[in-house]
Symmetry: D2
Subunit: 367 residues, 4 copies
């Protein structure tokens, strides 16, 4: 099935193609009485919007959100919120050249093999354009979280582009919004700018690693076994276009650690348990420890590049493919607000699930 | 909520604690008419069973499966299959010592904070014992796949233990079953044996990376957006105890690649598209390309270790915790058959979902 | 939660309020390659549209559907289909009078008690206007069924209005579209017209019973236990505004029958089993027999009436309520196309579920 | 698919056949900390148990429940509760005679047509034996409701058997447990006894109507549109074996009422809204009004009767079928505790869903 929904109780269904009249998200399960207008959503969409600097695609998309339902007098009613974004940049274009070939590394071949449909207009549902709807839904989730879990915050940033990673010694949260790469390390951001200019000139692209951190997640949030907080985050992040890996806390590095090294030791401080480290990334057994929840995901390089690559046609002919057009040389950059949105949606969903089973009483206390 | 089910149409619900009378899996949605007896399931459980060599826990668990429903005259009826495994090693033991402390890195503290329940008997639902039920369900999935997608196979193995990875030049599929580490590289297996003996002597433990490969997955299997094959695999693997990262194909390494390097070029061979590489791990846009589906996951070191670690008690006292008992020094080893089981379940679920929407006609052909 | 979705694999989520800018349905899980344009949907919406004769509300709603996604070159792509209907009759009106009172028999009081929101503008989500979205989704389901199960048809009609039922001796399928009551009995339709004129003059309203019949449902379609075809139909019909009862085949009359009377005897005819009666309404054990599937549902009288009724205000004052405005004197009439739509959606969902588990081979044959 | 689960958050999956080794229910989503032992469940199973008087089947089934998981020291842990009931009356019997014929009015023919499997041993999953698992799950739901919604009670009783209905003037709640028909009217119970003796002697059976009432359901419980309280109850009751109709409040009778008659007028009493009648059966717009929730369902006569009926064989031969064995002459009797169980499960599920979206604050107050 197409399965275009995620979330159990805070349930988001996205719809729409990159080149249709509009796309959007149907958001169901939102608590009532939450203040929400377009102006609460638009700033998050603007962060993801292309064409804001030379490092993202130069397509022009306004990404102006309209709320069609679920709001009365500026507050949520508890009924479905329909968020619609019109597609404005549907410039007429001749697709005949690419309509019968497949881009190596792109989903156009597998969509063809699954559905028997070849829609050459910008990737249809497989386009990263679908993530605009996620960001809109994530903005709703943030707004609800601000009421239900006031101290909770979600922040994403890029920690690696190509082979070059940030230096965590220079980590400065205030830098994140101050450069086009959402980099917490200004020096690395400058190097990335040079790297990416070179790659673009070569008609090439590059991958990245994004980290998303949630602070203020209450201890006890999450679930065991198949709705583990980490399992839900893994699914959410891996569902973003071009993502090929997800890790929590130490992640793959934990394979090389011993149990002695990896243990996050605990001490009482000010009458509450305090962890001396956070190898776990804030999750044990699928349930939050109360520390920062730390997720990282790897984004592969854009497959749509100007360098010719060998491929085939629908008719079974060998060919060379060059993808012209306005493509992101590093989709990892614009994946940052998308990763944040997914984190916000997953956390709100878990908040509602927790409240369903547990009510609003804190259960196991320590001390 | 507890959410102990996974899968959309081939739906597995596991139940049971490590120290209750029994545990098991309720398997719903199985097609009818598939040959299935306990003897089709038991060999897979035996692969996961502890105590088979000195590198896994010395607990004795027979893990003998009983089918309580869903089978008539040796074939599935299409109704729920109840798989029950009795717990036989419930030796009476004095838990009073550990009942009020928390192991660093273990889920006992978060379960307490969520549920307000401290069950000291072997971890309850957070115990790796729950994975026996997954392996039983996975054996059912394999049996169904053997009928529905005859050429499909699923194979798991360990590719890293601690800092030491296998050498892929020595990769030999026949070695996997020939050593206690499910290692495809016999030389590395011998080094791991020495490594692990040293760690056990030190009262320590270590992490690992497991790779699971599916061959014969038909091109077109999978789904876009939120039920992507890779998204479902990420959720499935991340839900296994102690897993902290999941990647597909190049995974995190893809961040350092350029688009030119990462493109899996295609040529026609014998009238069908043939990929010259598999950086994608067999999945594009959430849909299978027909190549090998390659998933890797990182397993953190066992948190139950003999080396004392700082922790706290329920009453809020600082303490030192030493976990005696019979624990796996590297849970990654026994995670191999579990990863295989999750892969089999996810693939069968996708086969059924694909059949629902598409029927049994192949859609988009090439050539 | 608000739970605005129905269906397992053919999944419809409706959204929108009676007086917002638009309402619609997000239709997920549709097979690809099905011909579908607005003109396939509009005729079904027109059947439900108010103001077509003096027996329905005189509100003017164009109910013009726009397809925003999921279609490429006139065919479904297998991705979500967004169906939007703009609200055109949002005449400015003074609601202040009714904003703080509750209509007896209307959901405005329970919505207030649940959500703490009093939206006086035409009932919001509780308005029968929501059913326009169902009819649009049902039109999609019909279009798919026409391809997947060519012989299948769905027909609804009114069999009772107030105390007056049709005479089945005069049942004439060709009459259904020939009178404003969807009555298969022209004589009774004429009497209903007189009845309803009198009721409207009195500022009163009346209930009805609607019957929906599906022909050509393949034997074996359906499921046991909790996804029984009759259970799904019961949920679907009971979810329609104002419906208070649902029955299959003999329904409540079966309580008074003996086992000898109620048995639908079977004989072989032309090499196939033939039932001599259809007390079962085409369903045994939740699975279709191949006969006509017959569902009836009771619609209560409209609660919005001109006759004063005792009620209370939000502030806890006793009051008298008279509901002015343009309301249907018998909502049962416009419930006919809605019941048909729900039947079509349920049947298609079951077709996809059956295909998932069974494939496209017929299993148990007789003879 | 087989879909053997119901409930969204309080989720029950039943498994097992009438003649397998055991059957049971996997209950997921139960809040933790609720006192629960086998002795809380067994009395409800005993009410449903056959062979307690001459009016139910003389099969001997102990229906002794075992809790296999989810309980620690007498309280729920919040993890899945496995409830197992062993089948004790598996007397060896020669089924060869009936193995190739179909009983008119029984699901054996549709199961065959769906699955291609003919399990003659007592009906398999289609047997009313499956309802024992529902009653066990319902007992868990009652236990949780007793904690979460202390004033809530659920009571079922028979209101009609064959053509004979109770006289509501003689309605006496204390009579319900005092006769074998769960009749609130002792006089009618005596007449039913005579009726049923005559029918049994004739090798015949008869239908019934059961009413289930919930008191103390909080105003505001429920949901709009597709998870309406009445829609969920309709699905739950219609899923019970042999049920052919479900209605809420006035139900089908509401079709004959006018809006003036059907309006449940409201007055303030003691500072709270008080309804002067309950035509609505306690539900408006899918949400509870705070009045009694009243559901009725019709149960068809048992299809397994001693009177010969015309039918066919698997091989396509005409035949006569007589069903020997120990069958209930009126399955409606034993459906009473099953209906109560379904009501309890639906209400608890709605309580959890409401708590998820709304928290534990009461929203819209009146007065």
């Amino acid at each position: 099935m197409s399965f275009n929904s995620f979330g159990h109780l805070f349930r988001v269904t996205t719809w729409g193609e990159s080149h249709g009249p509009a796309l959007g998200a149907t958001v169901d399960g939102c608590p009532p009485g939450i203040a929400l207008t377009e102006s609460d959503i638009q700033p998050w969409l603007d962060r993801r919007k292309p064409g804001q600097n030379r490092f993202t695609t130069q397509r022009r998309e306004d990404d102006a959100v309209e709320i069609l339902s679920g709001i009365y007098e500026g507050r949520t009613t508890g009924t479905p919120i329909q968020l619609m974004i019109r597609n404005t940049d549907q410039r007429s274009k001749d697709y005949s050249e690419i309509a019968r070939t497949f881009r190596p590394g792109h989903a156009d071949i597998t969509y063809w093999q699954k559905y028997g449909i070849r829609d050459p207009r910008g990737g249809g549902r497989s386009s990263a354009r679908e993530t605009a709807a996620r960001v809109a839904a994530g903005a709703v989730a943030r707004q609800v979280l601000a009421t239900l879990v006031p101290g909770l915050s979600v922040t994403g940033y890029m920690v690696q582009m190509g082979a070059r990673a940030i230096d965590r010694v220079r980590f400065d949260r205030d830098q994140i919004d101050a450069n086009p790469f959402w980099s917490p390390d200004a020096e690395t951001a400058a190097l990335w700018a040079a790297d990416l200019d070179a790659l673009r000139k070569d008609g090439n692209s590059v991958g990245a690693v994004v980290e998303v951190v949630a602070r203020g997640v209450p201890a006890g949030l999450g679930a065991p076994i198949y709705a583990k907080l980490d399992s839900e985050l893994a699914a959410a992040m891996m569902s973003i276009n071009a993502v090929k890996g997800v890790e929590i806390g130490e992640g793959f590095a934990s394979a090389a650690l011993t149990g002695v090294e990896n243990a996050d030791e605990i001490q009482m401080r000010d009458g509450a348990p305090h962890y001396l480290s956070n190898h776990a990334g804030g999750i044990l057994g699928g349930i939050a420890t109360g520390q920062e929840v730390v997720v990282r995901f790897a984004v592969k390089p854009t497959s749509s590049i100007l360098t010719p690559r060998q491929s085939v046609t629908i008719d079974g002919q060998d060919t060379q493919v060059v993808t012209k057009g306005r493509h992101d040389p590093c989709v990892g950059i614009r994946a940052v607000p998308v990763g944040e949105a997914m984190m916000a949606c997953v956390l709100l969903d878990q908040v509602l699930m927790h409240r369903a089973q547990m009510g609003e009483t804190v259960r196991g206390t320590i001390g």
